[in-house]
């Protein structure tokens, strides 16, 4: 069953179109990540779902209830949608307990049990309740903000880049903890981010936005393997784009003939490979086996547990081209070595190319 449905949403500020014709369905209990560069309209989309902004056209509905359409909109305070912004936005004039209990009805004493429960849930000490927001670290502030949003048992949870203010190590562990917590609670969640690694690891469903449009949506693996265009491919990770000629299920390119998924396509096209599809082996020419070509290591970029080789190959028309080839840091060949580059898996033909 779909929990949240967005239908042809439009929103513009003056002449600037912030969100253009966005439609998306979110299954109940799923985790959807909206990813895109800054200014792509993803935060505007989130704020429309929360009820802080209203769409010019289109329709938002949650569990079958219309939240906003052309006729009007349900105000934010009646939507029962949790919202955690980038910096946590804790109320500076209230302590942690009062912040968490803000949305709960009744007197402070009556709320205490529920507040303690929520503190446990986000793995904060119960004694934290009497602390003030400015006494907390960034990660603790985010946990409090999450507990505050969870307090009213929201039907939907919106997270607006909640991990971006944290440092790298903390970010990954917070992301895992939050994902587990929300999955356990069965709350449908939308996370907005511009960090592709965060997007790929958090999402059940990934939606890529660019310039106000929803470019592509699907599972993270699906989008990583089969991006719609070069920009999306590069946004989600390193990628190698090559011109190719398609013929009978093979793409003929500088790396030799590579298998493709759709044997029906013919003619010139752009193909994409992920660097991890390239493997090197020392100097032995394996013609006839896996597709590949010979090259010379020009340079290597050592980064401890892994390293990237720059391998020069000679293209069909006689130019030199550099390929990034991943290698294990300890066994990487020295610059100047002759290597054989083989390609595993299928090449992805970019649609519309």
């Amino acid at each position: 069953m779909n929990s949240l449905e967005l239908q042809q949403l439009h929103k513009s500020y003056g002449t600037l179109s912030a969100v253009h014709d966005v439609s998306l369905n979110l299954p109940a209990g799923s985790r959807t990540v909206i990813v895109g560069p800054s200014g792509s309209g993803k935060t505007t989309l989130l704020r429309m779902i929360a009820g802080f902004e209203f769409p010019d056209r289109g329709r938002i509905s949650l569990n079958g209830q219309v939240l906003a359409d052309e006729q009007g909109a349900l105000p934010a305070h009646q939507r029962l949608i949790g919202y955690v912004p980038q910096d946590g936005a804790l109320f500076p004039h209230m302590n942690v307990a009062a912040n968490i209990g803000f949305g709960l009805p009744g007197k402070m004493a009556a709320k205490q049990t529920r507040i303690d429960e929520l503190l446990d849930m986000v793995a904060l000490d119960r004694a934290m309740g009497t602390r003030w927001p400015h006494e907390l670290s960034g990660g603790q502030q985010q946990r409090v903000a999450l507990a505050r949003a969870l307090a009213q048992r929201p039907r939907l949870m919106l997270l607006d880049e909640p991990f971006s203010a944290l440092d790298t190590g903390l970010r990954a562990s917070m992301r895992k903890a939050v994902a587990r917590l929300l999955a356990d609670a069965g709350i449908t969640t939308i996370l907005v981010t511009h960090d592709q690694a965060e997007a790929l690891s958090f999402a059940d469903q990934l939606a890529v936005m660019r310039q106000g449009r929803l470019v592509q949506s699907g599972t993270p693996l699906e989008l990583y393997r089969h991006p719609r265009d070069a920009q999306t491919a590069l946004f989600l990770g390193d990628a190698l784009m090559l011109p190719a000629r398609l013929e009978q299920g093979l793409a003929h390119c500088d790396l030799g003939p590579l298998p493709i998924a759709d044997p029906g396509r013919q003619g010139a096209a752009q193909i994409m490979l992920r660097p991890e599809q390239l493997q090197w082996s020392a100097g032995i020419v394996q013609s006839g086996a896996a597709p590949g070509c010979a090259g010379v290591v020009k340079d290597w970029d050592f980064a401890g547990n892994h390293c990237t080789l720059s391998v020069a190959i000679t293209t069909v028309d006689g130019r030199q081209q550099l390929l990034p080839v991943p290698a294990a840091g300890l066994q990487a060949p020295a610059p100047g070595s002759r290597v054989w580059i083989s390609i595993s898996g299928q090449a992805h033909v970019l649609p519309g190319s």
Binding site: Q71, P75, H77, L80, A89, Q152, R153, D184
Partner: protein, 534 residues
């Protein structure tokens, strides 16, 4: 562990939907025009004094203006005013910067106490300073006396911003200068002083505007400025074109001063580049002679700025004995002062609210224009505001002529920016995001405003109201011109007593004014330290 969502909540929400659906969108847009209207109205009122000067000039015509302005008397006043500015401003800046450096950046013994003493003269109204000096040295008069008392009374206006900026400077810049081979003196001149430029220019502007606007201080030591001349003219001819034209020249002086300051400020922005919290600043270790000279300077300036008023006041209080306190007018004038100051502070803060709110929540070109209109209007001397209100109320609003309402209006026009600055800071403390969060947690827009935003704005509003209160309780010029018959504030009663040379009878009024001002001066001092991050 959160429980699974109950289906009932969704259904409940759906049931509430139809009735409330259209409300939200209308309300979100409706509040802005109303606020904008209020802000426009306040700004139009603020432009009344300036409009008055322009209108009167047009009415008088070129020939009239030439006749009234090109007189030896005006030249003399202009010369006096210019000399006063040229002598007082550099002295104020020098003393203010020296005191700020000694109390903030050197290891002067007792520097915290000295910094408090450097701000304390603000609690003494300027005309009480000159009362103290005149009764100590009756022969004191003319330009030297004017410069002496002005420097003493207005130096804190330079000291406060300069000290706050010095505290905020990133010591890393001085470290870099040192590593580039600069000696301490060159470090101060080439790295520290340029960064103090904005603070010095702002403080000097404030001092300059006070020099132009002050009446009581100069009247008491018999030094003629435009303001005293306008006042005398007004007393003798009531509302003659002569007074109006003098006011016109005074306004031109103010505007020149404003543009000089803005030219000096230029496009400079001294923001700290980079992130991370700055290290604590190292203190300059003073040599033996340096320490003696420093102590001498802070000691002498405190003795002159605080010792003299307190000593003379104490003398007069002793001389007057308990009889001076038993006059029947004392309590009513305290009551009237408190009443006017409270009402004025409340009204001015309320009037500043729409402008402050919009300038943070819906900034734009129009708002910036309105804000600067208010700043310019309030930089006009009280005597011009009073003159304008007398004329306008007599001609167009007779019923409010000589009522408390007109006095309050004058206070509002003069002191609105004080409330505006604090309110703006308070509203900026309450980002709209917090209100959004409150709404996402199920609070109605009004509840969100009340429980989150207004709570956060309250300290700023209170500080703004306190500043206006302080200004009103010491205001003399406009009160003298506008107060209805029978209204005697502490300041105007004090003035009446000193005009009769009854210095002993005036002393209790002066003491009360200082006592009212003291806590608020403390607040100002505290606030300037807090904005500096400590």
């Amino acid at each position: 562990m959160a429980e699974p969502l109950s289906q009932a909540e969704g259904i409940d929400g759906a049931a509430r939907l139809p009735a409330l659906r259209l409300l939200q969108r209308r309300r979100a847009r409706a509040s802005t025009p109303w606020l904008l209207g209020a802000a426009l109205l306040v700004s139009l009122l603020a432009l009344v004094p300036l409009g008055f000067v322009v209108a009167v000039s047009i009415q008088t015509g070129w020939a009239g203006i030439a006749e009234l302005v090109l007189r030896p008397r005006v030249a003399e006043l202009l010369f006096n005013t210019l000399l006063l500015l040229l002598l007082t401003l550099p002295l104020c800046v020098l003393l203010g910067v020296a005191l700020a450096w000694l109390t903030e950046r050197s290891d002067l013994p007792g520097r915290r106490a000295w910094s408090l003493l450097a701000v304390a003269p603000m609690a003494v109204p300027a005309f009480v300073h000159s009362y103290a000096w005149v009764s100590l040295l009756p022969a004191l008069h003319g330009l030297p006396a004017a410069v002496l008392v002005s420097v003493i009374a207005y130096c804190p206006f330079v000291y406060l911003p300069v000290a706050a900026t010095l505290r905020r400077l990133d010591p890393a810049l001085e470290d870099v200068a040192q590593s580039l081979g600069l000696r301490p003196r060159a470090q101060f001149l080439r790295v520290v002083l340029p960064q103090l430029r904005l603070a010095i220019a702002g403080g000097a502007l404030l001092v300059g505007l006070h020099l132009l606007a002050e009446y009581g201080l100069y009247a008491m030591i018999r030094f003629d400025t435009f303001t005293t001349a306008i006042y005398d003219q007004f007393q003798s001819t009531y509302n003659g074109p002569a007074a109006n034209m003098l006011a016109g020249v005074l306004v031109v002086c103010c505007l020149l001063l404003l543009s000089a300051e803005s030219a000096c400020r230029g496009q400079a922005r001294y923001a700290r580049v980079g992130s991370g919290s700055p290290r604590a600043q190292p203190l300059q270790v003073l040599s033996g002679t340096g320490r003696c000279a420093g102590l001498l300077l802070v000691g002498l300036s405190s003795a002159l700025a605080l010792g003299v008023p307190l000593l003379t006041l104490g003398n007069w209080l002793l001389a007057g004995g308990s009889e001076a306190w038993q006059v029947p007018e004392l309590l009513p004038s305290l009551g009237q002062t408190l009443e006017l100051a409270c009402l004025g502070a409340l009204l001015t803060t309320c009037a500043a609210f729409p402008l402050a709110w919009l300038s943070i929540r819906a900034p734009g070109r129009l708002l910036r224009l309105l804000e600067s209109a208010n700043y310019i209007a309030s930089s006009l001397p009280g005597i011009v505001v009073a003159l304008a209100l007398v004329t306008v109320t007599v001609r167009y609003a007779r019923p409010i002529y000589q009522t408390s309402l007109t006095v309050l209006l004058a206070y509002g026009l003069m002191f609105l920016p004080r409330a505006l600055v604090s309110l703006r800071a308070g509203i900026a403390q309450a980002p709209v995001e917090l209100e959004n969060i409150a709404r996402s947690l199920g609070r109605t827009p009004f509840q969100a405003l009340w429980r989150v935003t207004l709570r956060l704005v309250a300290p700023g509003a209170a500080a703004g109201a306190a500043l206006v209160f302080l200004a009103i309780s010491n205001e003399l010029t406009a009160t003298l011109l506008l107060a209805p018959n029978g209204t005697r504030t502490l300041a105007s009663a004090f003035w009446a007593r000193t005009s009769e040379i009854d210095y002993a009878a005036a002393a209790p009024y002066a003491l009360l004014m200082i006592l009212i001002s003291l806590p608020l001066t403390g607040l100002l001092y505290h606030q300037s330290r807090r904005t500096a991050g400590r």
